[in-house]
């Protein structure tokens, strides 16, 4: 099975699904799921393969596909999330409009992401990148209403990113007259630092926009919260990670560690600037997330913050940090997808995701609660979930690299994360169940299944982090990083090792002990939720919801400081551009005389400039 075949299957299958949908919706659903599963299987079989092959000639350039462990890691994440979210869509999207289109776009985005990670040259990278961008745009806009503005914001920023990419790509082409990544990488070592820096900055704009790095993040909160939930999972889980992939490709594959280390000194180096941006990306969005009232918006802002960790790890550029960043990418893909799916399930059953009106759903959807809990624990980086290991790696890198302030931001961001993660748990699932949600049922199987898989991944990678870390270590070594002493239970090191098995067994044993004590005490009487202490009075359930404005004191403190200044700036900029554009067209006044005057003026300018000032 070659890479070309994989892409042909992925794209062709997408169109086939669309056509089949015209015949029978059931067959379409089956085909969509089958297709993603087949892709997953194929990608899984690719494990360990390396190679490059050219598949097409475009405008005189060979487009090539290549596979190595780095792209395999991303591809397997893409394929997994693709299939899981498609399965999740089965019941979530049931009865919605334009399903053929939805599945088509879902599969196309999936296929184009595979294309991105497997592309061996900058052109095919760009082609798949753009296909992904407009596919995403169409899917974000799918929900109508506020989604339209979100989609527009996304695509405009995305085009800005593509613009930067085009410039970067062609300036590389102008210097090396090839688009092949490997070829450029082999020749770039002689380039001057200034040139490399300019190319890297251009690429960073592109990938920063997709990756939602502050200050390029403003499309993300709207887009994530307005997209259909299965797609939000893909969007947050893997699509924005294409930016991460781009960062890795541009920093470590194209430019390479050695050349990268010459770009500036100390604080003024490219690494460090990126790391500082990443730190800002962690800090500010975390607290903005804290203040949101829409569950998906919280998660969206949280995605930005988590991306900050990934970039922080990758940017710092040691083998430990790289491993942490890459691992956190995998982890974020799993737990954020899980959370979006869980919120999607809640929205599917209750019809709302407003944190202030929900409550007590745990009584009706205990399974979804467990999944959300696992996802939230992963998000926090709770020990025994995968998020812990990756964050641990990042912190350790920062502390030992004498960057305690970055480490402080990262750790402090984690505490912010706890606050909003608990807010989601509490406001949706805990507290009193409002009267209107008394009839809510548990999520259907096709929603449960992907969530179970993801939660298993979270726990498994949390207890046995060695599985993915070994793969990541292989990638790191291939990029020129020092090899890490990876074990199945974590990492051995002189300056503090990590052993998740120990943590796991410690907690397990103490759990058992406490549980035994708990069991030994008299059993308790199970009461309904309304049997509740309220200073002796009985408050009817309808008026018992106490979730609004959950962290009021902290809001009061941080509200003046935590504003999305960037978004305000962009919006003002967009407004200014719109006004400018509006003024521009005022020159077409409708007066015939002035139009003729324009013609004569042009002629006059042309001639005067030449004859009078001899400019041309």
């Amino acid at each position: 099975m070659s890479l070309e075949m994989l892409l042909v299957i992925a794209f062709g299958g997408a169109f086939l699904t669309y056509l089949l949908g015209k015949l029978s919706p059931v067959l379409r659903d089956i085909l969509a799921v089958l297709l993603t599963l087949v892709i997953l299987a194929i990608v899984a079989l690719f494990y360990g393969r390396t190679g490059e092959s050219s598949f097409m000639n475009f405008l005189g350039f060979n487009l090539s596909l290549r596979i190595n462990t780095l792209s395999w890691l991303f591809a397997i994440a893409v394929a997994t999330l693709g299939s899981l979210s498609t399965i999740f869509s089965l019941s979530y999207m049931k009865g919605k409009e334009r399903l053929d289109f939805y599945y088509l776009m879902m599969l196309i985005v999936n296929a184009s992401m595979l294309g991105i990670v497997f592309s061996g040259d900058l052109i095919s990278f760009y082609v798949f990148w753009e296909i992904m961008s407009w596919g995403t745009f169409l899917l974000i806009s799918y929900n109508r209403g506020p989604a339209l503005a979100a989609g527009l914001k996304y695509i405009v920023m995305s085009i800005v990113g593509s613009t930067a990419y085009l410039l970067g790509m062609f300036s590389l082409y102008a210097s090396y007259s090839t688009f092949n990544i490997a070829d450029i990488a082999s020749r770039i070592s002689t380039a001057s630092p200034g040139y490399l820096l300019s190319v890297l900055v251009l690429f960073s704009i592109t990938f920063g926009i997709k990756n939602a790095l502050v200050p390029l993040h403003t499309w993300l909160p709207d887009a994530h919260s307005e997209a259909p939930s299965p797609f939000s999972a893909v969007l947050s889980g893997i699509l924005i990670k294409m930016g991460t992939y781009g960062f890795v490709i541009s920093m470590y594959v194209l430019v390479g560690i050695k050349a990268l280390s010459h770009l500036g000194h100390g604080i003024l180096s490219f690494h460090f600037m990126l790391a500082i941006l990443a730190a800002v990306t962690i800090l500010v969005p975390t607290f903005i997330a804290l203040m949101q009232d829409d569950a998906k918006r919280v998660l969206a802002w949280s995605s930005i913050a988590q991306v900050g960790y990934i970039i922080l790890g990758i940017a710092i550029g040691t083998s430990l940090g790289f491993a942490g960043g890459m691992f956190h990418f995998l982890n974020h893909a799993s737990f954020k997808a899980l959370l979006f799916m869980a919120i999607g399930a809640v929205e599917y059953r209750t019809g709302t995701r407003d944190l202030n009106s929900l409550g007590g759903i745990i009584k009706k959807m205990p399974f979804t609660f467990m999944m959300t809990l696992i996802g939230a624990l992963g998000l926090i980086g709770f020990p025994l979930t995968n998020g812990f290991v990756s964050k641990w790696l990042i912190y350790k890198t920062l502390i030992l690299g004498k960057d305690p302030f970055l480490a402080f931001v990262a750790l402090f961001g984690t505490w912010g994360t706890i606050l909003y993660a608990y807010k989601i748990l509490h406001n949706i699932f805990m507290g009193q169940l409002p009267e209107e949600y008394k009839g809510v049922e548990e999520a259907p199987f096709s929603m449960k299944f992907p969530m179970v898989i993801l939660s298993i991944i979270i726990i498994l990678f949390g207890i046995l982090p060695g599985i993915p870390l070994k793969v990541i270590n292989v990638i790191g070594v291939s990029l020129g990083f020092k090899s890490l002493a990876v074990n199945i239970w974590g990492i051995a090191s002189d300056t503090g090792a990590l052993n998740t098995i120990n943590i796991f067994s410690a907690i397990l044993v103490s759990w058992i002990v406490v549980w035994l004590i708990f069991k030994a005490a008299p059993t308790s009487l199970r009461v309904e939720q309304d049997n509740n202490y309220a200073a002796g009075s009985y408050v009817p359930t309808g008026r018992y919801l106490y979730t609004a404005n959950f962290y009021a004191p902290v809001y009061r403190i941080i509200k003046p400081y935590v504003i999305d200044v960037v978004d305000i700036f962009y919006m003002a900029l967009a407004g200014a551009v719109r006004t400018l554009c509006d003024w521009t067209r005022r020159m077409y006044t409708g007066e015939l005389g002035s139009y003729v005057m324009y013609i004569m003026l042009f002629l006059a300018v042309l001639i005067t400039m030449r004859l009078g000032f001899n400019i041309w």
Partner: protein, 489 residues
């Protein structure tokens, strides 16, 4: 060996015999343009392989240049005549159903005349002949813009007419200068005698011609007629105007600058003007609520981009410009045609009235979307290849000016993306999602949509064959001497 004169003669002949056919049967009238364009298309395609090896030069009346008028059927000519024939064919198929009101016979006559003019401009080797064909094109388009005889149509027609006449007047003045200076009207012959445009006389001549042609080519600031005319003409005519007429203007400018004057030192100015045109066009389009006006402004912008690409003047740049002409012809024709039926169904040109069109007219909306995506330059559509080539050309040209300009061009692309995506959203995602009855465009209109969409995607994915033609066409522009020698023997 078929004489390429037929490319001009057949539409011209059919145009004037059309009223006679009309006497036989009114229904016959609307098939004649289709037949003419089918003939033209097959002939041009048939000629392509021959022309690529060596250009065909036809001497009208057997007079050899510089004394006689010649037709120079080079790669450029054949490239344009394929585009003209193709777009003309598709639009005439579309018009079979679309044009119902008014005196349809006159419409078809004028339509054929317009295409004749366009064919003539791209094939002729004589500058006055070029002017004449140009006037044929212009006059028929003035008349066609006012075809519907409503307020907007008439107003824009008279404004178009006045500006166009001024423009053609300037061209004629320029031609008079040329004749006065060199005593010849054959392009190759003029080119042979001109050594540089440094002398003021040469420069003024060039300036007059560029300005004059620039009016029709809609270069800023001479493009004030364009949004009016394109938005108030019948949609099929808007498609032709946007897809063919203004490109012909650009062709003429390119011919004048590259072949006749060999003027390289004005190019940076042209590039600047191109970018300003692009920016002004896209910026004006951003806040338009009238869909056709928006598309018209977008045409202005695209022309600016094409002009910029030509002004890069390396073989990459000219190739990119030609490719962008192809892309713009196909995409903008598709956009106008699709918009035409949407306007017809809703009875309004307001973008907001197209809500729910994705349900009502799914295929038309799809066509519009593909056209829009291609124009923005998204892969895998044709627009990507052309934009790719333009950026490549600009950056390989080097120099701060072109880098800055291409950056500005890409900024304009962002604006363009913003308004096109907004329309796509309106088509598919705005408004209620209740079930609306399907009112798809008739099959006759869907055929052009289908052909154009398939072409856009096919060229976007596999631009190889097109590039083959474009390479030769580029070399015709770049190698001026070869052209002169080819004509004058």
């Amino acid at each position: 060996m078929v004489n390429p004169v037929l490319l001009i003669a057949v539409p011209l002949g059919l145009a004037f015999s059309l009223p006679i056919f009309g006497l036989i049967s009114k229904r016959l009238e609307k098939y004649l343009p289709v037949i003419a364009m089918l003939f033209n298309l097959s002939l041009s395609v048939y000629l392509v392989p021959r022309v690529l090896t060596h250009p065909i030069i036809v001497y009208i009346g057997g007079w050899a240049p510089p004394f006689g008028i010649d037709l120079f059927v080079g790669p450029v000519g054949i490239f344009f005549s394929v585009i003209i024939a193709l777009v003309g064919l598709l639009v005439s198929i579309y018009a079979m159903d679309y044009i119902k009101e008014g005196d349809t016979g006159k419409y078809h006559v004028l339509f054929l005349l317009l295409l004749t003019g366009a064919q003539g401009v791209v094939l002729t080797g004589d500058i006055f002949n070029l002017f004449v064909f140009y006037e044929i094109l212009c006059i028929s388009s003035y008349a066609l813009v006012g075809y519907l005889r409503d307020r907007d149509g008439l107003e824009s027609a008279i404004k178009y007419l006045v500006q166009g006449s001024i423009g053609t007047g300037l061209v004629l003045t320029g031609i008079a200068f040329i004749y006065g200076l060199y005593g010849t009207l054959n392009m190759a012959d003029i080119a042979r005698q001109i050594n540089s445009i440094k002398p003021a006389a040469n420069f003024i001549t060039l300036a007059l011609i560029i300005t004059g042609l620039g009016v029709e080519a809609a270069i800023f600031p001479m493009n004030a007629w364009l949004p009016d005319a394109h938005s108030s003409a019948p949609s099929s005519i808007s498609a032709i105007l946007s897809g063919i007429a203004i490109e012909i203007g650009v062709y003429a400018i390119a011919r004048v600058i590259f072949t006749i004057f060999g003027a390289t030192d004005i190019l940076s100015f042209v590039a600047l003007v191109g970018i300003i045109t692009l920016l002004v066009g896209e910026m004006s389009a951003l806040k338009q609520n009238n869909i056709k006006r928006m598309l018209a402004y977008s045409s202005t912008g695209q022309i600016g981009l094409i002009v910029f690409a030509f002004a890069i003047a390396t073989s990459y740049g000219i190739e990119a410009g030609l490719f962008q002409i192809l892309n713009h012809s196909l995409s903008k024709a598709l956009l106008f045609l699709a918009a035409g039926y949407m306007i017809y169904r809703t009875g309004s040109m307001e973008i907001s009235s197209f809500e729910g069109m994705g349900k009502r007219m799914p295929l038309t909306s799809l066509g519009f979307t593909i056209g829009a995506f291609s124009l923005i330059g998204l892969p895998p559509f044709a627009g990507f290849a052309s934009k790719f080539l333009i950026v490549k050309a600009a950056l390989t040209k080097g120099g701060g000016l072109y880098t800055c300009l291409i950056a500005l061009a890409l900024v304009a692309t962002v604006i363009e993306g913003a308004y096109f995506f907004r329309v796509v959203q309106v088509l598919y995602f705005r408004g209620s999602n209740e079930n609306v009855t399907r009112q798809e465009a008739p099959v006759v209109a869907l055929v052009p949509f289908f052909v154009l969409a398939v072409l856009i995607i096919a060229i976007g994915i596999y631009p190889g064959p097109v590039m083959h033609v474009l390479n030769s066409a580029t070399s015709e522009f770049v190698h001026r001497i070869a052209y002169i020698q080819g004509v004058l023997r």
